[in-house]
């Protein structure tokens, strides 16, 4: 192992340990919230199953370990979570874990598309802004990002439906694919992509605004730095300077920011998926709110946190690849 590889491995191992510790805290918080609900899980399950038979409730209570002292219950709860057992949803007639896993790919697709779009567009806009600093392209871009930053996401989505779906009729406004005419293969992928455009753009706007400002700032800093001046003096070409020196240094804060925003992004998915009837976990959460299904809500919250933590590990790997090894802490 080279010293750099060792350093990176140590950095990632520490991040992994932190992630596991965070997850444990979230599970305990989850347990506490579950106990804040009036009535216990046995009442809830009996209620959902449509019986109030005291014998049945008592048996359930025993089966779920609800007659045990709280610390034991917490242990049992954590054990169940570790096995991926989030309970059973009577309303959907399947286990909560499978219910969520079924919806997960749609949400991940939406998140990936919106992050990808926000990052790509912000690199272009931020670079333009920095190159034309304080001239009209910069001012125009700043104005647009200011609006994107202040626009309520769900309202933007609804207005996009009115404009592109209803009046112009360019794009589908709800769902993930055409249910009336199911397609296969490449045609299906294209159909999903068409359905993805409006939700992904809506979801990306806010982050596009933040990232563009960030890229502009770090680009300006990089272009004013000694190492760029030195590279120019050495006779390095402008394109190579832009890609190798400036972009690389501008990417690091961007990657950090994307990692920090993942939780916000996933929270925003509840709104985007509700507006566009996108069949992901955000939409599932909206339905669970109406049914007051606290167990399902808490399970989505835990799994949402898992997604953020795992995605952050991926971001850390990217960060490790971009950053000089000495700076990994």
């Amino acid at each position: 192992m080279t010293p750099r590889a060792r350093r990176i491995a140590r950095f990632l191992a520490r991040r992994l340990a932190q992630g596991v510790a965070l997850l444990l805290c979230i599970a305990v918080l989850d347990f506490a919230l579950l106990h804040a609900v009036p009535g216990d899980a046995a009442d809830a399950i009996a209620g959902e199953a449509g019986t109030a038979d005291p014998g049945y409730v008592a048996t359930l209570r025993h089966q779920l370990g609800l007659d045990q002292p709280l610390p034991v219950q917490l242990g049992l709860y954590l054990g169940r979570l570790a096995q991926g057992n989030f309970g059973y949803s009577f309303r959907y007639g399947q286990s909560v874990a499978s219910l969520i896993l079924e919806r997960l790919p749609a949400t991940l697709l939406l998140m990936a598309a919106s992050i990808g779009f926000a990052v790509a567009a912000s690199l272009v806009l931020g670079t333009l802004s920095a190159r034309f600093a304080n001239r009209w392209p910069d001012r125009l871009i700043t104005l647009v990002t200011l609006f994107f930053y202040a626009t309520p996401l769900f309202w933007f989505g609804l207005m996009a439906i009115v404009l592109f779906g209803v009046h112009l009729g360019w794009l589908p406004t709800g769902g993930m694919y055409d249910v009336a005419r199911p397609r296969t293969g490449l045609a299906f992928a294209l159909d999903v992509a068409r359905h993805l455009v409006l939700p992904a753009f809506t979801q990306a706007c806010f982050f596009l605004a933040i990232y563009t400002r960030l890229v502009r700032t770090s680009m300006l800093q990089a272009y004013g730095s000694d190492y760029v001046r030195f590279a120019r003096a050495k006779g390095v070409g402008e394109l190579r300077i832009a890609l190798r020196h400036v972009l690389r240094n501008a990417l690091t804060p961007l990657v950090t920011m994307v990692g920090l925003n993942l939780g916000t992004l996933l929270g925003g998915a509840v709104l985007t998926e509700t507006v566009f009837s996108w069949p992901g976990i955000g939409r599932l959460m909206y339905d669970a709110v109406f049914q007051r299904d606290v167990n399902l809500l808490l399970s989505i919250l835990v799994l949402g946190s898992v997604i953020v933590i795992v995605a952050n590990l991926l971001v850390d790997m990217l960060y490790a690849a971009l950053t000089p090894a000495v700076e990994l802490r």
């Binding site: 965070l22 979230i26 609006f147 309520p152 709104l271």
Partner: protein, 269 residues
Amino acid sequence: MIRLPLVIGGLIVLALVAMAASAGWIFPDDPMTMVAEPLLWPGQDPAFPLGTDSLGRDIAAGIFHGARASLAIGFISSSAALALGTLVGAVAGYRGGRVDDGLMRISELFQAIPQFMLIIVLLVIFRPSVATIILAISIVGWPAIARLVRAEFIVLREREFVQSCRVIGMSGPAIMLTQILPNALPVLIVSGTIQVATAILMEAALSFLGLGDPNLLTWGGMIGMGRDQLREAWFVVAVPGLALLITALGLNLLGDGLNDLLDPRGRRA
């Protein structure tokens, strides 16, 4: 020198406060009652310049009364988040050690949990009302402010004027309150202004999802109600959304403007 963002932002916020204050005077009737035929387009009837919604309620009255709800919830929840965040951030930054470690762990926790999802769960468990909404928004809002204040205190505690106070025997709380805090105020004012915008947008999103206070008319709630007639009568959704956009824009401009005004060193790029 003209400070355009500050002026525009300040004027927007002033106009909002005026709207909120005069709501009961210009529109004395309950904005939730039916006053005209439903779905009148803006301008169709001069008595209802912004039109009516599907239940025949005056949208203009809703906008004025909604300004009241938005500003109150945004301002109170931000003040709470600011107070708690400042207290924890100040102690963590000045003292360091265990308090500091604890704070950093908590704020990492809040970064890993999708905050909006946490608010939704809290409101479903504790039932949405003005009090629970304010509480939930401030619970997720304070860690970010605490981090900011902490960073500021860590820098300021090493400065000479603070060290000389320590030398003459001034107590820790007195130094934090009378020496460091006034120097950290610009950061607090700016982030507090932005936090009000964030809180207003968050409350609107909650009301849109049906998790608002059922007894309160809010802009987000109006958008949620109008969604069913989006195709035929999009103005019912457009008008309160524009009100939200202008409000958030005004507060952000005000925050940016204050940042320029209060930052004599010109640290920003």
